[in-house]
């Protein structure tokens, strides 16, 4: 049994001349709920793509349950469920909720990828987990932002991943759905033992659920429990001076005035 879900050593990734992330070291335990926090352009999405093996590192090493995602992509993608940040949904492709969730199961098959009864059942089961089992035949594009996000989480869950990567799953979602999705991720982590790596520029909705949080801005500035990281002197290194931290009911919250540095 691998101890680490993700192990990153001295990782550097550049796009042409832009250094997106630099000398990143990160060890995420199997079963952990880890948040990666940082302003826009910090390299959060880039880090997730490196974990998925979609980007080749300039330097350094990434391992997912002991596999190299860039060279053993198929193995790694079987272990990971991924919820992308922006879904560039083409209005020209109208898929039902069921069809979207089924993608998660059919991507593992060979063309023509005909859904079996088992595929349909696991897709239904995944939809049930996110509480949308009645939406099977609905047009995906007609759902609200929060519902769409939940469908995409269901798609990531169909293949029963050990590790769930979520890229800003709470952005563009109303406050109530934020709380629902957060609580649901917590349950997934505690009850179903799914390791969760969640990228966010706003930690508050999940701050009481995460085990650890890493502060990323090109490099990792801090990593630890929310109490350890959510300190004004630490956050201000990344967010500038307009950061305030409040403790409420034993939980820390950060209020960030200006996300652009």
């Amino acid at each position: 049994m691998e101890k680490y879900a993700v192990k990153i050593e001295d990782l550097t990734i550049t796009y042409d001349d832009v250094v997106a992330i630099e000398n990143v070291n990160l060890e995420m335990l199997d079963g952990e709920f880890l948040a990666i926090m940082g302003p826009n352009g910090a390299g959060k999405t880039t880090l997730l793509k490196a974990i998925l093996g979609l980007i080749k590192p300039v330097r350094g090493k990434v391992e997912v349950y002991g596999y190299n995602p860039f060279h053993e992509g198929d193995k790694v993608r079987h272990l990971i469920g991924y919820v992308p940040q922006k879904v560039m949904l083409s209005k020209a492709v109208r898929l039902t909720v069921g069809e979207v969730v089924l993608m998660g199961a059919l991507a593992r098959k060979y063309p023509p990828r005909i859904p079996s009864e088992k595929d349909v059942n696991s897709a239904l089961e995944a939809l049930k987990i996110v509480g949308l089992e009645e939406f099977w035949n609905r047009d995906f594009l007609e759902l609200s932002g929060g519902q769409q996000r939940r469908v995409l989480i269901a798609r990531a869950l169909v293949s029963k991943p050990k590790l769930l990567l979520l890229d800003e799953p709470l952005t563009g979602v109303d406050v109530r759905s934020q709380a629902e999705i957060s609580a649901f991720l917590n349950e997934l982590n505690r009850k179903h033992k799914v390791s969760i790596l969640m990228v966010t520029h706003d930690l508050n909705p999940v701050v009481e659920y995460v085990d650890r949080v890493a502060l990323l801005f090109r490099k990792i500035y801090a990593i630890g429990t929310p109490e350890e990281v959510l300190k004004e002197d630490i956050l201000s290194k990344v967010y500038g001076s307009r950061v305030r931290v409040f403790a409420y009911g034993g939980v820390c919250f950060a209020i960030i005035g200006d996300v652009h540095r």
Binding site: L52, D74, P84, L89, S90, A92, M103, A107, P112
Partner: protein
């Protein structure tokens, strides 16, 4: 009189040509509309026109075996692949620009080649511009039919992948779909389909025959899976009626077919507006 005309070999060939082009339209119209690159059809059609002119030119220069259709195929495919390359990492806007530039380039090449063609050879090229559905030979049909079967086969085999990359290319990639391969494949299939249709109906009308039925089907269909069949029905309907009208009122077949396909699209949007009210 009517039966006599309908029984003659060139009508039978024309009918078969329409059926082939309709199946092609059903497959690739869906690909192009769902990826939002409908103008690729016009680009490839005009590249095929330039290629046909090139073929005629080579023949007049003594290279007899080089049929204009080969030139059409070669130019159409190459131009599509260049566009596919330009659009690989880029946005839809970059792809759109690449399509526009290739279209302009193809037309320029066509004009250059046409300038060198003897006037008695002009009709051979003319067919690629406005279509020569009534002049299709059995050899043409065999060639076009095989290409159409190829396109249909790959479309049916890979239709999910093609939809997935159209829906969201990044998550398709994260799911382990080989997006690069399917990106090129989809554009290659579309190009071959467009070349088939260009030979039958002419470059000017390819857009009407490939895009209008699929766009109409998009409006009418309740589910994505219904779109290809509805497209096929509209294309066949416009093609058959258009061909029949050609003999009763004596106007060029591709003209009536193009008008009918466009009317079908107008009716479809009207229908879908009314339904939504």
């Amino acid at each position: 009189m009517f039966l006599e005309i309908m029984g003659s070999p060139f009508i039978v060939n024309a009918l078969i040509g329409i059926i082939i082009a309709s199946f092609v339209s059903a497959a690739i119209g869906h690909i192009l509309t769902s990826r939002g690159i409908t103008f690729l059809s016009a680009e490839v059609a005009h590249a095929a026109l330039g290629g046909a002119a090139f073929g005629v030119l080579l023949q007049t220069l003594g290279i007899i075996w080089f049929e204009p259709l080969y030139g059409a195929f070669l130019f159409g495919v190459v131009s599509a692949l260049i566009t596919a390359y330009a659009g690989l990492r880029g946005s839809r806007e970059q792809m759109e620009a690449a399509i526009g530039v290739s279209l302009a380039m193809s037309m320029a090449l066509a004009v250059v080649f046409l300038g060198y063609i003897r006037s008695e050879d002009m009709p051979k090229v003319w067919g690629y511009l406005v279509g020569d559905i009534l002049l299709l030979t059995v050899d043409d049909l065999l060639f076009l039919g095989s290409l159409a079967i190829l396109v249909g086969f790959f479309y049916i085999l890979f239709r999910r992948e093609l939809l997935y990359i159209a829906f969201d290319i990044e998550s398709a990639e994260a799911l382990g779909i080989k997006v690069k391969f399917y990106h090129y494949l989809s554009i290659l299939l579309a190009a071959i389909g467009v070349i088939v249709t260009t030979k039958a109906l002419g470059a000017i009308l390819v857009y009407a025959f490939i895009i209008a039925p699929a766009a109409a089907a998009n409006e009418i269909a309740k589910k994505t899976s219904q779109i290809p069949l509805i497209t096929l029905a509209i294309a066949l309907f416009s093609g058959m009626i258009g061909l029949t009208l050609t003999f009763t009122v004596n106007i060029p077949a591709s003209g009536t077919i193009g008008i009918l396909a466009s009317i079908a699209y107008l009716m479809a949007i009207t229908y879908s507006r009314l339904r939504r009210k």
